[in-house]
């Protein structure tokens, strides 16, 4: 009964979200905390079941298919399921206090997040374009709703904007899939792959493939599909920004590398390479330059996310396993660091205060030395500085580029990433370099109030794990060595 245990995580997530939904209806407002506890316990159960599945999977094994070849699993995919669900656990830990203080501590937040996570897990394990499409919709729709969770004007605006743009690109995706289906007569990854290898590929099919790529680029918020990103990031409440900035990216990058590897690998030619290089360099330019002048950290991170996405895409231009491994590694680390940074913002935003301006960080390092130190490590890791784990992610991508003789692209990419130093340094500057904050009393009183607020230990522990991982794995990268094979897709 291997199949059953292999499908157990998905089944558990689905039943957990249904259970929380029902539980939340019948429980009185006073005991809403129980929904949180059940969610976390359920997530731990899901993580355990995913870990249990490693027993039946071996790193050298071929994929196991089920449901009429529409879903697949192998060791690497299982590993990414583990990553997505443990990051989800982390996000819930960080955001519990936030949503409690903002008075929407309802089951909806948990249910929608869990459903979104189910969508991501379906996406990464799909081996059929129909499943891929369903998964993408499944993880997007709950997020559209979550963005409008707070029902303020800015949230609703962001939600509607996100929904409309998302719907357009989902239409593009569906249209591309229909073209692929029309040309090849099937939507199964393996069948399409053998179709490409054996038969003449018509222009119809190629257009379909490009449209699929466009939809994926939209999910990765690459230029020129990036216009929505800053507004949505800023409009959404911090927990939701944290969710939509991290986990969907992991799922999208993983499925992108799987689609390139398992379906379009024969289609990949110099034109594709030039297209990808063009898009990633444009993203690096617009993302990094756009972030320079932002004062709102959410907007800043939105632009920096565009830049990071450009860097991730560089892993795909070489069409090599090493490059894709690098991209997968990079996106996971990026998500881990972004969760830490958003986590700090979520920890200190209370009631009517949004802790999301750079000026809010003034004096943070002095008031909270430990948290400040952890955030410092996380920021340097995001920059990709040596002796933090972010460096290895950057190194892997640059190495894959140089190994493929794309030296000029590598030079342009690293020089543009120097710009990214500047805006991360602005946060560090606010944390440490601003002297007695009395010069500007408005901020000070505000900050004083913020920093007096108590932080809860699970969030502090979570941030510490984040920071110590970033530094510890950077100093002792031997451990990376053994897990790198799990990123090979």
């Amino acid at each position: 009964m291997i199949i059953n245990t292999l499908m157990l995580p998905e089944i558990l997530i689905a039943s957990l979200s249904c259970f929380i939904l029902l539980w939340d209806v019948f429980i009185s407002r006073k005991y809403r905390i129980t929904s949180y506890i059940f969610t976390q316990l359920g997530l731990i159960g899901i993580i355990v079941s995913i870990c249990y599945n490693f027993k039946n999977l071996y790193i050298t094994d071929k994929n196991i298919y089920f449901f009429n070849n529409s879903l697949t699993i192998n060791c690497q995919i299982n590993f990414f399921k583990l990553i997505i669900s443990s990051f989800m656990l982390m996000i819930f830990i960080y955001t519990k206090d936030y949503i409690k203080s903002k008075n929407y501590f309802f089951g909806e937040y948990f249910v929608l997040s869990l459903l979104s996570m189910l969508g991501m897990i379906i996406v990464i394990s799909s081996s059929n374009f129909l499943n891929f499409y369903l998964g993408v919709e499944m993880f997007s729709l709950p997020i559209y709703a979550l963005v409008g969770l707070e029902s303020k004007e800015i949230n609703i605006e962001a939600s509607i904007k996100y929904f409309i743009i998302g719907a357009v690109f989902s239409g593009i995706l569906l249209y591309g899939l229909s073209l692929i289906y029309g040309a090849s007569g099937n939507l199964n990854f393996q069948v399409i792959n053998s179709f490409i290898q054996t038969q003449h590929v018509t222009i119809l099919f190629k257009v379909g493939a490009i449209l699929v790529l466009v939809a994926i680029f939209f999910k990765l918020n690459l230029v020129p599909m990036h216009m929505w990103v800053p507004d949505i990031y800023q409009g959404a409440p911090i927990p939701v920004t944290m969710l939509l900035a991290t986990l969907p990216k992991i799922a999208t990058v993983v499925i992108f590398s799987r689609i390139i590897n398992e379906v379009f690998i024969k289609l990949f030619n110099d034109y594709w390479q030039i297209l990808l290089i063009f898009i990633s360099v444009l993203s690096l330019i617009i993302g990094n330059i756009g972030a320079i002048l932002q004062t709102n950290i959410k907007r800043l991170l939105a632009y920096s996310a565009i830049g990071h996405a450009g860097f991730i895409l560089l892993g795909f231009v070489t069409n090599s396993t090493a490059g894709r491994t690098a991209a997968n590694f990079y996106v996971v680390l990026y998500a881990l660091m972004a969760i830490g940074l958003f986590g700090v913002m979520a920890m200190f935003s209370k009631a009517d205060l949004e802790f999301d301006e750079i000026k809010d960080f003034r004096g943070f390092g002095k008031q909270h030395p430990w948290l400040g130190g952890m955030l410092l490590i996380i920021l340097f890791s995001m920059i990709g500085f040596p002796l933090t784990i972010g460096f290895y992610a950057k190194l892997l991508i640059i190495k894959s580029l140089i190994d493929a003789n794309l030296i000029l692209v590598a030079i342009v990419a690293v020089l543009l990433s120097v710009i990214s130093l500047f805006y991360y340094l602005r946060i560090i500057k606010a944390m440490y370099f601003v002297e007695n904050v009395t010069e500007n009393s408005d901020y000070n009183i505000n900050n004083f109030k913020i920093f007096k607020l108590k932080t809860t230990w699970p969030a502090v522990l979570s941030l510490s794990i984040n920071g110590i991982l970033a530094l510890g794995l950077g100093v002792f990268p031997v451990f990376i060595n053994s897990i790198l094979i799990y990123f090979e897709l």
Partner: protein, 511 residues
């Protein structure tokens, strides 16, 4: 059982990680008394590096005290350490300067323990730069050692510290990025020419690669920009005066004495032996560029009104001699086949690195001591301190004379050797380099005159009466550096003995 041999086998790791771990501990404990722990560890580190110096085999060739562990073997990155004659001297220099810095910073500074922790961590990382034999490991230390310095200038610096520190950080990182690309490219070439993955990032294997002249020129540009920013050579120098003026005294000391040396050291490790042909091709530019740096910055220095800026510019000017010496050496080896003179020039550069490290550290310490008393770096605010600070005046005299390369001080040895070697390359160069020494006499002695002599009541500035002389900590630090400067100036033979074989190895690598 932990025996002496165990310590000796892992001594490089100890002198790298002991300060870093202690620094993190000091940060976590965050009590004022931990400052003494920091000084203690600084002392232990100096002791260990002297122990290493004592056990260093001066007749041996190649790396010594080798350590080799797995780090990221999938990518060929190994935790590989080793020292040769160049790096062991620089490690000792770094340990000496760091101990002096830790002693002098035992004064009531805000957040003293954090301040000292930053210096300890930086010392460990700097030792790592000098000891790494794997290129990526080298790069990691090379780059990450900026973080403590960035924080030191940014948190404890002067008025314009944020501007200065961000400028410094961006400038140096921009150079490092090109360095990283060059390393990975060399690694790829090494793999293509048959080295195993384990050997592909070893710095010494890069020396054996055959590169076309076109490749060499590109690599030269990437590496040269990275290191020229650190040294710095005109026109990449604009970050340094800002960083120096805004940095706290101890930060300036480390910046001038050690951080700048890392650029020159990286040139010896990477630039000259790997892209030798390109270096020879472009050596004219670099030699005359260095001379231009010496003269042009010398003139700028004469015009300075700010004491700290004056010392900062003087330090850039003296660093010009180091690059000049290195490229003269390569010219002599390749073009004139004059090995002996090349050895002279190489040794001159290394000694100039050490002497500049000691002298600039001592000068910045002196300026710091003055600033603590007067509260200003402005040259106009000083006069007649000879009346109130006799001990300081005498020690300051030693440093100023060493700065103008007076015979008998260590400053003389390095510049003499380099100028001697430059005669073979071009008479004009030699004449100009030696006359440029006049400039350093002008600005140093003018400064000395203004600060030390003069009326007690100059323009109503009456600081000088209330000045107290050096306290015991400052006397210890300044006296210690004066002794070292004089001792090594009179008797530089031990340094030359240690350098001997490494210089020969180096000359062999570039010929």
């Amino acid at each position: 059982m932990l025996t002496f041999q165990h310590i000796l086998n892992n001594i490089l790791s100890i002198i790298i990680w002991l300060p870093i771990v202690t620094g993190i501990l000091v940060l976590l404990i965050n009590k004022k008394q931990t400052g003494y722990l920091a000084v203690l560890i600084g002392g232990v580190n100096l002791f260990l590096s002297c122990l290493m110096l004592k056990n260093f085999n001066i007749v041996g060739h190649g790396w010594q005290f080798i350590e080799h562990y797995q780090w990221l073997p999938n990518l060929g990155i190994y935790y590989a350490l080793g020292v040769d004659g160049f790096s062991i001297l620089l490690i000792v220099l770094a340990s000496v300067v760091n101990l002096l810095v830790l002693i002098i910073s035992l004064q009531p500074t805000p957040n003293r323990s954090k301040y000292m922790a930053c210096f300890l961590i930086m010392n460990g990382l700097i030792n790592g730069v000098f000891a790494a034999t794997n290129a990526i490991l080298f790069y990691m230390f090379f780059e990450s050692m900026l973080i403590p310095l960035f924080l030191i200038i940014g948190i404890w610096g002067g008025q314009q510290r944020v501007y200065a520190t961000i400028k410094f950080f961006l400038y140096t990182c921009l150079g490092s990025m090109l360095f990283l690309i060059a390393i990975i490219y060399l690694h790829k070439t090494a793999i293509n020419s048959g080295f195993s993955l384990e050997q592909s990032f070893v710095i010494q294997n890069f020396y054996l690669l055959t590169l076309t002249i076109k490749q060499q020129v590109y690599l030269f540009v990437a590496l040269f920009i990275a290191f020229a920013i650190k040294i710095p050579i005109v026109p990449f120098h604009t970050w340094l005066p800002d960083a120096h003026v805004e940095a706290p005294t101890e930060g300036s000391v480390v910046l001038a004495a050690i951080t700048l040396k890392i650029g020159a050291f990286a040139m010896i490790r990477f630039l000259l032996p790997i892209v030798t042909d390109a270096c020879l091709l472009l050596s004219k530019f670099v030699i005359w560029g260095s001379l231009f740096t010496i003269v042009y910055i010398g003139f700028i220095t004469v015009a300075q009104k700010n004491l700290k800026k004056l010392i900062a510019y003087s330090s850039i000017s003296h660093m010009g001699f180091i690059t000049m010496g290195l490229f003269i050496a390569i010219n002599l080896v390749q073009r004139d086949q004059d090995i002996n003179l090349a050895i002279l020039s190489m040794n001159g550069s290394i000694i100039q690195m050490i002497s500049h490290g000691l002298i600039s550290a001592a000068l910045f310490f002196s300026i710091g001591a003055l600033y603590k008393r007067v509260g200003s770096y402005n040259l106009e605010d000083f006069s007649g301190i000879i009346h109130s600070m006799p001990i300081f005046t005498k020690l300051f005299m030693v440093f100023c004379l060493a700065n103008v390369a007076l015979p008998g001080t260590i400053g003389f040895a390095g510049e003499l050797l380099i100028i001697l070697a430059s005669f073979k390359v071009s008479y004009l160069l030699a004449v100009m380099a030696s006359t440029s020494l006049i400039l350093s006499v002008v600005y140093t002695l003018c400064m000395y005159k203004k600060v030390v002599f003069g009326e007690l009541d100059h323009d109503g500035h009456n600081h000088s009466k209330i000045l107290t002389d050096l306290n015991y900590k400052e006397t210890l630090v300044l006296g210690g550096s004066a002794i070292l400067i004089l001792l090594l100036g009179i008797w530089p033979a031990p340094m030359l003995n240690i350098l001997n074989n490494s210089t020969l190895d180096f000359i062999r690598a570039i010929s």
